[in-house]
Symmetry: C2
């Protein structure tokens, strides 16, 4: 992942200013995605410590010695500090934080053993995950183009999946094949969730040994990470002509998706986007249940804030990229969901995918 050095510098500037405005002496960033956002380098952490320290005295990136080469492109203001096999990285972290008392941390990522070691050294930890996440929410143009590229790969994957969907194909094998194809195209990670018939009635189901049969509805949710950024789309199909239920469910979800996309305006609270789809899906309760919110943001993570759910009061920022994915689910029958990735823009929402929303009729 290559990000222009000046974008990275700007992000570090803003993080430093906002940390100072909160009265923090330093910010400590430890999640893979936030480190990637600030350095251009996405670590794979396993048990070894990686971190970025931003403070007025000294900003640093701390990595295991084996990974030292990978942070050479990090902004110059970040002093690279590496540690060898004899260290767990915490003494080097404490050195980089020397002089700070209050340290903002990503409270949902920092593990207890490290928090404890820092507290024992006299640092006062302050939950501050919202600082870097607040910056990550509004995507810049380069980030938006990367999400668009990921969406292009995903929609090509959906087209391919629909070609492979013939009666007798096994659900888990089909998902594995589509995952392999996405990885062959360069995706560094991919999560297909293509569910058949009654299995599609549970949006959290795992693909299983069930074969595709005539009459099935198929709910195909595909996501892939390309060059650091995720795309996430869902389309539906039926094996043969759609049933009355499938046609009606698809029409309701299509209307709900349009309404939610229209509601994705700068300044609107996340819950309003959810309410726009929920109203329509819940009014069609004879067709099934509304089991989840309108969507979530995508970017360096597949699932990141804001979440489009009833409790999300914060106003949407311009540049946020949201999945809009209403669905309706009928136990024993199936589920229909339509999902696009949408940029919140002053001029109105921009949809990053071009794949038609049609209910695909397989085998025609």
């Amino acid at each position: 992942m290559v990000t222009a050095a000046n974008s990275l510098e700007l992000r570090l500037d803003r993080l430093g200013e906002q940390a100072a405005a909160l009265g923090l002496d330093a910010a400590l960033i430890t999640s893979d995605e936030s480190i990637a956002y600030l350095t251009g380098f996405r670590p794979i952490q396993l048990e070894r410590f990686f971190g970025v320290v931003v403070s007025p005295e000294r900003s640093a990136v701390i990595v295991p010695a084996l990974d030292r080469g990978q942070v050479e492109e990090a902004p110059r203001r970040l002093t690279p500090i590496s540690y060898g096999a004899e260290s767990d990285g915490l003494p080097e972290l404490a050195d980089a934080l020397a002089g700070a008392r209050t340290v903002g941390v990503e409270e949902d990522h920092l593990i207890y053993s490290r928090a404890r070691a820092l507290a024992q050294q006299g640092f006062e930890l302050v939950p501050a995950g919202a600082l870097v996440m607040g910056l990550r929410i509004a995507k810049d143009d380069v980030e938006i183009e990367r999400i668009r590229s990921a969406c292009e790969l995903v929609q090509e994957g959906l087209r391919r999946a629909f070609e492979l969907l013939t009666p007798g194909v096994v659900e888990h094998a089909l998902n594995a094949r589509v995952e392999g194809w996405l990885r062959e195209q360069g995706a560094t990670a991919a999560h297909p969730l293509i569910l058949f018939g009654e299995n599609a009635a549970n949006p959290h189901a795992d693909p299983g040994p069930r074969e595709l049969r005539a009459g099935d509805v198929v709910c195909a949710d595909l996501s892939a990470c390309l060059d650091g950024y995720w795309g996430d789309l869902t389309r539906c199909a039926t094996v043969g002509a759609p049933s009355d239920w499938a046609s009606a469910a698809w029409r309701v979800v299509l209307e709900a998706q349009r309404a939610a996309i229209d509601a994705a305006q700068p300044g609107a609270p996340g819950r309003e986007v959810d309410a726009a789809q929920r109203r329509i899906v819940e009014a069609a309760s004879e067709l099934g249940a509304c089991l989840h919110g309108a969507g979530h943001a995508v970017g360096l993570s597949i699932h990141e804030p804001p979440f489009l759910v009833p409790r999300w009061d914060e106003p949407l920022a311009e540049g946020a990229v949201l999945t809009i994915e209403p669905g309706i689910y009928k136990a024993g029958i199936g589920g229909v969901r339509l999902e696009d990735d949408v940029v919140v823009r002053a001029g109105g929402p921009e949809i990053l995918s071009t794949l038609p929303l049609e209910l695909v009729e397989l085998g025609r």
Copy 2:
């Protein structure tokens, strides 16, 4: 993943006894793999809390309401507690811990925000990750058979990968195709790391756009998770007849692997297994460098203690399953590594794979 209820009960018994012996009022287990070890159910956590509480007063498994159905097979002594969308699960956790003061936690998994919330409620957290990990180290017969099955799948994947290795194939595409194949066979996760030529000189390299060429050495490391347990094997090949370097490197690594396997005896410190291979690889320094330890344990995690490195003094337990994987790496040329999964047994080490260690000559 189905584990006999009596095995799960036994694990809970032991965990409870050992926590009490350490003076803890309760143990809180939060990592996916440890929850799977105790309940038979492997959660996928994302942002939602899952946990197991083991205490003399009340043992419980706490899950999001959506996942309630999945813990029905958990041991009966674990009261299932689920929480809805209005909770983050922590009030339910505090209820389950009520009456306890000292709580042992998995310090390398519990996140700071949850540790902080528990501390604010008056619980005294004690790092105790070694408790459940100590139980997980010695595998029972059912676990060993699962690792054997995963190894069988991986060795079939290696055979297939070698068939696909013809000049012109692209490194990252080959890795993706092998990953897709392993997933099609039922692997819930798979990590191929098949590296060509000079890229194989770096055991941490990513597969890239490089095509396979005549004369390349290929270092093929494959791991896959089947039915909850990982297998992890490495074999090597050359495109055409091996160079003198490749033949000599392979002979050294073969000798080092035999020596390390022989050293994997109950009661031997982990460092001795490492020393057995290191001595041989380092004596061949004209062929390349010794860049890593002898291996690590596998089980519910692909990477778990004990680690076979110079600092690991703890004696090996009977039933531990270890990767034994010495390698030798020459910058600009390539790398050779041979890896098997080995059970530590009183009667001598048992190798779980049957694939020959030969240096495969591709295109013959």
